[in-house]
Amino acid sequence: MKPSLLEVEDLHVRFPLAQGMLEAVRGVSFTLGHERLGIVGESGSGKSQTGRAILGLTAKPGIVTAKRLAFDGIDLMEAPPRLRRSLRGSRMTMVMQDPSYSLNPVMTVGQQIVEAYRAHKRVSQAEAREAARAMLDAVKISQPDRVMALYPHEVSGGMGQRVMIAMMLITGPDLLIADEPTSALDVTVRIEVLRILDQLVAERGMGLILISHDLEMVASFCDRILVMYAGRIVEELSSGNLDQAQHPYTRGLMGCVPKLSGDRHPLPVLTRDPDWAR
């Protein structure tokens, strides 16, 4: 049998802090095929740390353990750092939640996309620039030439996010982890970006993990949804079945969303049961 694109079994991420051990991820397991998997969950529940651990980008002195962590059959826990680095640059990539932090501050965004592309494909500078321009155009950056000449602090929030997406997609990865990739985008551009991701999954068989707090977006876009709370997966839902959520966190979430159809002040909030975090 062909292995799943990604296998995660009993993943833990811990950070030793002065006040004691912080358990950021506590036993997360799932597999991913060539599909769109959504991860939603409370702020601080371990979504980003799960993504970073899969890529091998856990900040020091974080400790990652897992019964199994495998990409396309490659055991990542045993893989030498060099292999993980080369996988990361090409076959598995992650769009980080804070684009301006993840981009190099002293290099123009154009140079960065060109470099990402040339590290992976043997093409001329001119060809790489053309590919970068086309990619920025695809994510609806108007005037790509002007934007390529800017430094990260000179682009707007939504432009930075799209630069990051362009940079991560230009190498044609097999697995993309996108951490809140559209949170700074207005609705029209967001739909374009989702369309691109959708095509990459449908036509190229890419596996996509979409981390987002936007329930409605995840529900309408993803095939499956994992819900995280306090470092664990508390439930899995199939696409469009948000109304069948069982966990009180997920059920409560829907009620907290402000809606254009209906004006409630104050908004309902969750009463968090300490039992949810057990």
């Binding site: 409370e42 601080g44 804070d98 029209t188 707090h213 969303v257 104050p266 909030v269």
Partner: protein, 261 residues
């Protein structure tokens, strides 16, 4: 306009030189009334953050005037300005000092404004944004995206300014925490009469917090409208209509519209 606490008249901000010059904000005016929440919406790159940054003195205007309580503001902005006006930046990472703990980040504005007995204020500020005392000694990089955003909100509110400029303040928060922050903002406005300028791409969030909103495009105002008009769909500009329609969700594309990276 009489009674406005914060006002901009014919504001312009430009960046770059030569062929690459961009008019990020062009001939833009607004007036924020005391106790009002004013929304600022528009596509990515339309100049929303630049307007807020110009108010705080971070972007130097090429033209126009910004007035606080009817008095034109000078560069650089003084201490009095920052005790009246605070801003939550769109990118909390860039706005929080990387080598300062949460405690230092929250203590700094209190120290500058010589607030006696800062400790209880710091704990209360953390509690308001749903973070316990255990977060005090973390550095920004030791927090999740949404926790960082809440620290930025706590820092802006800790001095109880009269005006808060909020640039996508809840974009990294899940719905449950977002609801708590929106309720907090409303409560402060009701109890203390704070005024807000809110940038958000989430039209429902804007309609929830603001009565009135300005739609921007290409650095200019294209429409001033109301939350009520957003809710009943009676917005007049095509562009605003398109934004409303697009906020209905994602519909899978028909096959065949291909993209090759």
């Amino acid at each position: 306009m009489a009674g406005a606490i914060l006002e901009a008249r014919n504001l312009s901000v430009r960046f770059g030189v030569g062929r690459l010059t961009i008019a990020a904000v062009e001939d833009f005016s607004f007036a924020l009334q005391a106790g009002e929440s004013l929304g600022l919406v528009g596509e990515s790159g339309s100049g929303k953050s630049t307007v807020l940054r110009a108010v705080t003195g971070l972007n130097k205007p090429a033209g126009g005037t910004i007035l606080l309580d009817g008095t034109p503001l000078a560069m650089p902005r003084g201490l009095a300005f920052y005790s009246a006006v605070q801003m939550v930046f769109q990118d909390p990472y860039a706005s929080l000092h990387p080598r300062h703990t949460v405690d230092q980040i929250l203590a700094e504005p209190l120290a500058i404004h010589r607030v006696a007995d800062p400790q209880p204020r710091i704990l209360a500020a953390l509690d308001e944004v749903g973070l316990g005392p255990s977060y005090r000694f973390r550095y920004p990089h030791q927090l999740s995206g949404g926790q960082r955003q809440r620290i930025a909100i706590a820092r802006a509110l800790i001095l109880r300014p009269r005006i808060v400029l909020l640039d996508e303040p809840t974009s990294a928060l899940d719905a449950s925490v977002q609801a708590e922050i929106l309720n907090l903002l409303e409560q402060l406005r009701r109890d203390l009469g704070l005024s807000y300028m809110l940038v958000s791409h989430d039209l429902a969030v804007v309609a929830h917090l603001c009565e009135r909103l300005i739609v921007m495009r290409g650095g200019r105002m294209v429409e001033t409208t109301t939350a009520a008009a957003l809710r009943d769909g009676s917005v007049t500009e095509d562009y605003t209509r398109a934004m409303l329609a697009a906020s209905k969700g994602f519909a899978r594309a028909p096959a065949g519209t291909s993209l090759s990276p």
